[in-house]
């Protein structure tokens, strides 16, 4: 039964076209995700696989623990380069040559900009250029100091409770240092583009499974279906299983292809670095490694997508309309972005728990969405997994009951 339900979905032109479109969009996403730029000694940008090797070679020369010595070395090297005629020049091409000398430690330079910023929410691209080697010991403590200073400001008064503030500081203090500095373009890019491929996959599978229940009515096949022996029990369950299988299999195939292509091209180096070792994760309060962040991102995408697909199927079972069903994931993904501009702590708390966040866990990891449950403070990510994992499970009996009672 399940096999035929799946066959029903993919025997339609729409089902086949959706899968082709998904593969095409996967290729496009991989193309952008594997795009790495290397600037050679002549100041000319290089791309492609050769650029990846060269960049890796440059960064590997700086590989090792990002301790005081390494940081001092980076600051000194940065000062030295900044004093060269190439860096001082007003010709952008000469500046590019100067940049080519910095590529190996440019990620350290980015982190220095954040660590020595004038405030927690400030960023100055040139801050690293004004540092002295003796500033190096303050690198890690600055991260905690800036957070504490910010939490004492009025602007955070309504954003966090005292317990939440204490939780943030504790998380910051518990971060294991020094970081291990390594080439990590593969995981950085993998994480950056994962929400794109996850959203595309969920929307397309949502479209594919939306008709699973409604099609019986659209094709007027419902009288034969419901008057059959299993029409009000196992055949309904088979539809749910088919939707689950279609989603699960396609989701993991697409994410596996995406991960394999990107990591094979850019490398798996840096998998065990903390997410804070890249500038995009510097402020994160979740103390996890790159591989854990990626696992959370794809798992979150799976749970969120499963919820959305089951919701689409539930709408399909209730309304007999695949059009309304298809709209469900779109609404859940795009509506929050329309209301996200409202600057209200309450709205932000609600937005932090909407299911679209599960499709972009790597971004969610950067948000300071905190929730206090019975004296225990936690970030939004574990709550999102529990809430939408449970909701997806609850939708199973809901759609089963809704469909089997159809007249």
């Amino acid at each position: 039964m399940v096999r035929y339900e799946i066959k029903k979905v993919f025997s339609k032109k729409g089902g086949k076209t959706a899968i082709l479109a998904l593969l095409l969009l996967l290729a496009v996403t991989c193309f952008f995700a594997t795009d790495v730029v290397y600037v050679n000694e002549k100041g000319i940008e290089e791309t492609g696989y050769a650029a990846v090797s060269k960049l890796r070679h440059e960064i590997n020369e700086w590989e090792g623990y990002l301790d005081e010595d390494k940081l001092r070395q980076a600051i000194e090297e940065n000062i030295r380069i900044e004093q060269t005629p190439e860096a001082q020049s007003k010709d952008w091409h000469m500046n590019n040559i100067a940049y080519s000398w910095k590529q190996g430690f440019s990620r350290i330079r980015d982190l220095l900009n954040y660590s020595f910023a004038s405030g927690f929410r400030e960023y100055d691209y040139y801050r690293a250029d004004s540092l002295k080697p003796e500033d190096a010991p303050r690198f890690y403590e600055n991260r905690i100091r800036l957070l504490k200073e910010w939490l004492e400001k009025d602007e955070t008064k309504y954003m966090f409770s005292e317990a939440e503030k204490a939780y943030l500081i504790k998380q910051y203090e518990e971060l294991e240092t020094p970081f291990y500095y390594d080439y990590m373009e593969g995981f950085v890019n993998l994480l950056e583009y994962s929400p794109t491929i996850i959203m595309i996959t969920v929307l397309i599978i949502g479209y594919v499974v939306a008709g699973i229940f409604a099609n019986e009515f659209i094709y007027k096949a419902d009288p034969v279906f419901f008057s059959s022996y299993y029409g009000r029990n196992k055949a309904v369950a088979a539809k749910i299983k088919a939707g689950f299988n279609i989603y699960t299999i396609i989701y993991w195939i697409i994410l596996l292809l995406y991960s394999t292509i990107v990591l094979m091209y850019l490398g798996t180096d840096g998998w065990n670095s903390p997410i804070q070792a890249d500038m995009s994760g510097w402020k994160c309060f979740y103390n996890i490694k790159m591989w854990q962040a990626y696992l959370l991102t794809v798992s979150g995408g799976y749970v969120g997508g499963l919820f959305m697909c089951f919701l689409a199927m539930y709408v399909s079972a209730r309304t007999r309309s695949s059009v309304l069903a298809v709209m469900a994931p779109f609404v859940l993904i795009f509506i929050p972005s329309f209301i996200s501009n409202i600057d209200s702590p309450v709205i932000n708390k609600i937005l932090g728990l909407l299911p679209d966040r599960l499709l972009q866990v790597n971004e969610q990891l950067k948000y300071f969405d905190l929730y206090q449950l019975g004296g225990h403070v936690t970030g939004a990510v574990p709550i999102l997994f529990i809430v939408y994992g449970t909701a997806a499970l609850l939708l199973v009996p809901a759609m089963y009951i809704a469909y089997r009672k159809k007249q």
Binding site: M1, Y4, K7, K8, S11, K12, K13, N215, E216, Y219, K220, A221, D222, P223, V224, F225, F226, S227, S228, Y229, Y230, G231, R232, N233, K234, A235, A238, Q407
Partner: protein, 300 residues
């Protein structure tokens, strides 16, 4: 085997689609005759557990079909009036899918599907997509799916709708062939579909059972006589105003003479020279269903 319908009623707000319908069926073909909107489909959908009755019950071998649930549906084969299918499935895949939801084991399903495909004359179309089949072929595929579980109760709702005369005859013969050892309830508004194959006919009118019995019983109990007369063509319309006309025949020689032969339902002779005719089922149909029974001029 016995299907007993007891006081079955279905209301849709103020509309009574089926009104206190009771009947008992055993093996054989039962023809459910009635005009469009008489309540035939609603009755059949209740018999197929697709809709719940407002009142009354249906008993299958003495047990309520709602309580029997899947066990009853296992004994049921249904061809709906508006037969829907999965257009991109091949005929074989379609039948195998239906077999799976009917609870047939794979090996049994394959045997049954193969047998039925041959029986309904679709052997050559086995691997054709359902959407590529002609109207008649789709209907035959429909009967094949209904027969897959070797049902003891076969319900066919307007199975000949939209078929050409050849297909209709073929279909009638097929149903007659399949009717052994099971109850077949066939609804139609075309008398000839059931006149020769039905064990009993049920006439349904405005949701109620208006008359039932064998063809002979129904004809014998017709409370009106059937007459034929020849009238000038110009007088046809005046006869229509006075009587129910079963047929108007204007043969070529009559046309030249300006006359037509009318078949009239009337308790008394409509004219002195009227000839008493033997009633047939079409006359019965016209009597019960009147102008709504057929096309223009009440012809069936």
């Amino acid at each position: 085997m016995e299907l007993k319908i007891v006081g079955l009623t279905k209301n849709y707000q103020d509309i009574v689609a089926v009104n206190d319908f009771s009947y008992t069926m055993t093996n054989g073909v039962y023809g459910l005759l009635g005009v469009n909107g008489a309540g035939k489909t609603t009755l059949m959908r209740m018999l197929c557990t697709l809709i719940q009755p407002t009142r009354g019950e249906v008993l299958w071998n003495g047990q309520n079909i709602s309580a029997l649930g899947g066990e009853y549906r296992k004994a049921l084969g249904y061809l709906p009036q508006d037969f829907g299918y999965y257009p991109d499935f091949t005929l074989w895949d379609y039948l195998m899918y239906i077999a799976s939801i009917k609870g047939l084991r794979n090996t049994v399903a394959k045997k049954r599907a193969q047998l039925l495909i041959e029986q309904v004359g679709l052997k050559e179309e086995r691997n054709k997509k359902m959407k590529k089949l002609s109207g008649g072929m789709k209907r035959r595929a429909g009967i094949a799916q209904a027969m897959l579980g070797d049902p003891k109760l076969l319900i066919l709702d307007e199975p000949t709708a939209g078929l050409d005369p050849n297909e209709r005859i073929r279909f009638r013969n097929l149903i007659s062939e399949l009717a052994q050892e099971r109850i077949v309830l066939l609804s139609t508004h075309i008398v000839s579909d059931v006149e020769y194959i039905a064990k009993e006919i049920l006439l349904m009118q405005k949701g109620k059972l208006a008359m039932s019995g064998t063809v002979n019983e129904i004809i014998e109990n017709l409370p009106i006589k059937v007459w034929s007369i020849e009238v000038p063509k110009k007088e046809i319309s005046s006869y229509f105003n006075l009587y129910k006309i079963a047929n108007v025949r204007t043969e070529s020689d009559m046309v030249s003479g300006g006359k037509a032969k009318l078949r009239i339902l009337s308790a008394k002779p409509p004219a002195e020279d009227a000839v008493l005719e033997t009633a047939v089922m079409e006359d019965v149909f016209l009597y019960y269903f009147g102008e709504t029974a057929g096309e223009q001029y009440g012809q069936i």
